[in-house]
């Protein structure tokens, strides 16, 4: 079965980001296809590479990044939500005249159409939020 997963909260503040990650792992383990994971609202904050690995806890941003690499996942950050909150890739940062970017490997920034298209293409759309 083909899934699009929507993640609407950032890492740590709400368990939603954890639940989404665990769901995606379990779906992959069962042989399902994750067509796309779309990060919206504060969910865009899952895609930063500037977080610091804690001594005794998970680093969610890195776990998403590693999972994307391992399974060739399409992790899409909404550009409108990202601009409000300060999540940038190198191209967008350059276009906006910013002096740095903070996206982690495995994520890409794109438009809301990617969410709709994902839901059209997929058998199921699952929303994780607050």
């Amino acid at each position: 079965m083909k899934y699009t997963v929507m993640v609407n909260e950032g890492p740590y503040q709400h368990q939603s980001a954890d639940s989404a990650l665990q769901f995606v792992r379990a779906a992959l383990a069962k042989g399902h296809e994750i067509f796309r994971v779309f990060f919206y609202h504060d969910g865009v904050n899952n895609g930063t590479r500037l977080a610091v690995p804690p001594k005794d806890d998970r680093l969610l941003q890195q776990e998403w990044s590693d999972l994307a690499k391992e399974h060739d996942l399409d992790l899409v950050i909404c550009i409108a939500a990202a601009q409000r909150r300060g999540l940038m890739d190198a191209d967008e940062a350059k276009r906006q005249g910013l002096d740095a970017d903070n996206i982690i490997e495995g994520f890409r920034i794109s438009g809301l159409g990617q969410l709709i298209e994902g839901s059209i293409q997929s058998d199921r759309t699952i929303v994780f939020g607050d």
Partner: protein
Amino acid sequence: MAMLHIVNKSPFERNAFKSCLDHAVAGDSILMIEDAAVGAVDGTVFADDLKAAMTDKSVYVLGGDLAARGMSEDRMIDGIKVVDYAGFVDLTADNDKTQSWV
């Protein structure tokens, strides 16, 4: 065309769980995850609402979320089924669609 309702809010803190019960139709399934897991416990001020819904709907709880909050499975309302993340995935596949009551 059965639906899986996913609830992640405590029934004591927010109206989302109650609203879910008010909008699920016969034959639907309800899965409690995250803070909603505490709604599975019997003897609470919410238990009767959930039991009423169970007359024509199936109710599940994510075991890991129940355990994290210190609630053992033997305290649950009779008839609630415990699933893990793999079971969560199965529920989304077995139902035609899902709605999250965030």
